[in-house]
């Protein structure tokens, strides 16, 4: 029995030793719970009692003295009478030291009174365990039962200590084995720590090859499947536990896991299942943010502080809508906008900006330009009247050109004044 007894001072060393290997939590749990002074309690820790209560209703009232070793529950025999001690049969008994450790667990000396109080405690713990098992999503039930808790982080050691129903990590070595190893290492002498770690690592290799607890856990799960879970006295407590799994807000730590599973599932099924029921959303029915209150005035857009930028933006917007034309009309619209086409409605004066200021009468009534130099009658007058009529009908000349025409004739006749007088085309004034 001395093998399980550990002095408190050796704990930190072991902690340091094992913290690397990720088995620290279990290690701590096992050894910290057991007061080193009382070997009987250490024994009790390995005592498992199974009771069958009631009639054909299979009700598991499994008592676990120290639920840190819950993996050792053997479920082969359902009809064990109450308080019957079940031998802790380890499946892997090839290792001698391990076998020895197992042998030691066969001597339970429980004191009845202690057990009662302890029984109550453990019953509650077991119920919790069962409840948490029952909440596991049916999809994830596999041969190895992994409780849905994530691995405890080193930070939360204190918390972990309390959560006795936590599953063991992969390379779990039974605490008896650990203590036995310790003993062996001490008996060998020399560098005990090194020897012990060597031994443990060898053991861990074995345990990962054929982990004894997985089978035990599997049988545990088999036992619990189809077993009626004894309700805890307070019904209100269990209900939220079940609910907990499905509400993402309940356990923030669990949420990424749930998301991951959803993602996995969606990846598994190539065609996503689309819900038949269509949930209508009221687009404009939500509660406003309440930042902008009151209507915004639209006049503000007119005076932009960046005119060039806004013009460029407008143009780009227009371009984002412009396509290769669909038909001749659209093409004509584009040409019109590019200034290549006369605008509709068709107007003869399109683009004649300089003519806009000049009235129609200036084009048509040109005889007033003859006043003052042209003789009132005679061939010259007749000729010039014809010139004016011709010019008034010409749409291609500007008023200035027309005036220039008349001016040219005026100068011409002024040059030839002598000759004209001679032939009598102009009557001399006297």
């Amino acid at each position: 029995m001395a093998t399980t007894r550990l002095s408190g001072s050796s704990l930190p060393v072991l902690q340091r030793l094992f913290s690397r290997n990720g088995i620290l939590p279990i290690f701590q749990r096992t050894f910290c719970k057991v007061p080193p002074e009382d070997p009987t309690q250490a024994e009790e820790a390995k005592t498992i009692e199974q009771e069958k209560l009631g009639d054909s209703n299979i009700t598991a009232d499994t008592q676990v003295k120290d639920s840190g070793v819950k993996e050792q529950i053997e479920a082969q025999d359902h009809k064990v009478s109450s308080d019957k001690q079940v031998d802790n049969v380890s499946p892997d008994s090839s290792d001698s030291s391990k076998a020895e450790a197992v042998q030691e667990t066969k001597k339970p000396v429980p004191s009845q009174e202690k057990k009662l109080t302890k029984r109550e405690q453990t019953q509650k713990k077991l119920r919790d365990l069962l409840a948490s098992l029952a909440t596991v999503d049916p999809l994830s039930v596999e041969s190895t039962v992994k409780l849905t808790r994530p691995k405890p982080r080193p930070k939360k050691e204190a918390k972990v200590k309390k959560e006795e129903e936590l599953p063991p990590p992969e390379s779990y070595i039974e605490p008896e084995l650990v203590s036995a190893t310790k003993e062996v290492a001490e008996s060998l002498g020399g560098d005990t720590a090194a020897t012990e770690s060597e031994l443990l690592s060898t053991l861990r290799l074995h345990s990962s090859d054929a982990p004894p607890h997985t089978q035990a856990a599997a049988s545990l799960s088999e036992l619990f499947v189809g077993m009626k879970i004894e309700r805890s006295p307070n019904e209100g407590e269990t209900a939220p536990i079940q609910h907990k799994h499905f509400s993402p807000e309940a356990d923030p730590r669990r949420q990424p896991d749930a998301n991951a599973r959803r993602r996995r599932l969606s990846r598994l099924s190539p065609e996503r299942s689309i819900p038949r029921t269509i949930q209508r959303v009221d687009l404009f029915g939500a509660k406003p943010l309440g930042i902008f209150t009151g209507k915004c005035s639209k006049s503000e857009d007119a005076s932009s502080i960046l005119p060039v930028w806004e013009a460029l933006h407008e143009e780009e917007l227009k371009r984002s809508m412009s396509h290769p034309p669909d038909n001749a009309f659209v093409e004509m619209i584009q040409w019109t906008n590019q200034g290549k086409l006369w605008t509709f409605p068709v107007d003869n004066e399109f683009g004649l900006e300089s003519e806009k200021k000049i009235g129609f009468h200036e084009h048509v009534f040109l005889e007033r330009h003859l006043q003052g130099w042209c003789p009132p009658r005679g061939p010259i007058r007749h000729f010039m009247e014809l010139v004016c009529t011709g010019l008034s009908k010409n749409p291609y000349l500007t008023v200035e050109r027309k005036r220039a025409h008349i001016e040219w004739y005026r100068n011409y006749f002024a040059e030839k004044e002598g000759l004209l007088k001679e032939i009598g085309a102009i009557q001399s004034s006297n």
Binding site: I274, I291, E300, W309, R319
Partner: protein, 663 residues
Amino acid sequence: MRGSIHHTFHRLLKCLDLRSSLPRRTLSTSIPLSHQEIVIPKRIQRSPTDILQALASTIKRDTSGPHYKHHDDPYLTPASNSLKRMYSLSKESGRKAARWIRDSNPQLFLHTPDDPHIKAFAPTVRYTEDDASEAVLRELVRQNEVSDAITMYRICKDKNIDLSDEAKQELLELVCYSNGEDQLEEDWLEERWHRQTTTTIRKTWNDDGVAEELFQSLGEKKSPAYCALIRGMTQYYQVDRAWQLYKECQERELPLDTNTYNSLIRVSSFLRDASDLRWQLVKELLATMAESGVQPNLGTLNSTLEALTQVAGWREARGLSLQVLREFTQAGIEPSLATYYFLLLIHCRERGPVSHLLLDMLDHMQGRAFQARHLKDTYFFVTAMNIARNHIQNLEAARHVDDLLHTGNNYCLIGDSYRESVYYRHYFALMCSQMPIDQFMEVYSDLSPHIYTPERDVMEMILKFTTLHNALQYIPQLYSDMVAYNLGNQEKLLTLVLSAAAQHQPADDNIELTEKMGRVAEDIWTRVEELRQDKTRINQITWTGQMLGDVLMCLVVSGNYKLCQVVLKDATLKAHTILGYIPPPALRVMLDAAIQRKDGDTGLEVVKYALESGHHETGELALHLRSSLNLTPRQKAKLTTALGTDIMTEATSSDSDSEGCQP
């Protein structure tokens, strides 16, 4: 007669005096006049293009012919996507060449008989260094000639020409907007249509470029300068510096305008990491706007939603997006298509839960004509169709989206050719999988090839569904379309066509189809053989045994026995280039055809091929051949050397049996 007209005219004048309206018929008949007020409608100002627009709206897109831009010649009608692209771009490149000649030889284009002068036809004005002045610079900015304007600015600087702050500000805006790069000219519609715009979200801002130089050179940095620079930086994702400038503005208490705030909101996600912090920042910016009395506009709504799309995976993003929408619609802002686009992005995520928001949106948008009011408006239709197909798989929704696209001028908002074809790709795929095949084929022949040419994947889907529904009558049409769409060299598609054609069961009422199937198989055979001759091809088509088997089946069924022999010979000779072997059922069919035509040699070939391929059915085939046909001694000898004497004895025994049976 004349008198009566005169009489009515007088009465008319009288009526006008009485200010009563005159029904037209009173001109000929004198009916007592009713006393009605003449209401002369006010003149409606028409823009120069209004009449044209009214005329254009009467013309619907003709689905039976090529697009207007293509040459009106059947020989030049493009069917495949690559041809469409090539033809339209080459047309435009012709225009570009002409433009280049005009611009490189301006001295040849001095004759300008046009009055009024049309600037678009004249060579572009060239400026020399001597012209450098502020007026020229401003003119260049007005014409959006980015690189020319920058060059002119540099020349002015070198020549120590003083530029006013206004000119610098204008140039700054231009440079910030364009990031100092020339943009695609307005005239090159095809290039813009066929350009695949990939929106890259990464920093493309020219650090320490002209923009920042201009900004530094400004005498007094007022808020327009800050606004321009901040907008430019955010547009090209130089987020950190933009934020710095924003802080600077706040310190100096310079007011910013709405669009500058919008641009900051749009990129605010890049300044924070966590979703809630990003949203916090957006809210802060909005609150700052509200505090400083800056009115929000459509851009604010869209920028806020765009910021939310960056955190669309966040749990609260969906609820917040609706809150944002409500907030701004309450303020009197009408959402644009981009608003709906961002909402779809937030609500209908690939990995997220299914949301039917699209249906609600469509209810709201039905029958409305939209205008481009935001640059992202053109992303709506393609996204909506994508969601209708992939997210909710709802044909009804897809139809509504399509109806909306064809409402008013909405088709202009489809974006570009790439988005258009993606849109139709989704639409086709959805219709193909959810509509009865006959109905689908109606739509198919309506829309393709002129509106949309199916790509390889869509074609594959159509072929698969046609085969699934056993609508083999469409296979010849689909095959000829495939060839026209330049998909005739796709091994996967050819395999599908052949396996569908081989499924065809000839009957008396489908002789025509049988013939067509035969022609399809023949065409595939010759086409693939031609392709295999071309050694320069990268993706060589490899015959597979299955394909050849299908070819044989189709040819036998359609009675093209000659080609069957060629195919079989080819398969025997070039067995090393063929993947796998012709499957036994096809060989059996071939053998039957040979037996029917009493062609022992070909029958022997079939058996030999089966033997070389190691089919278990070889013996059976040999027995069949031996028992159904009277082989010549030479053929018998060949059969014996190939299969041993056992086969002959067995054959003779069965032969005698069959002979015994015959009377």
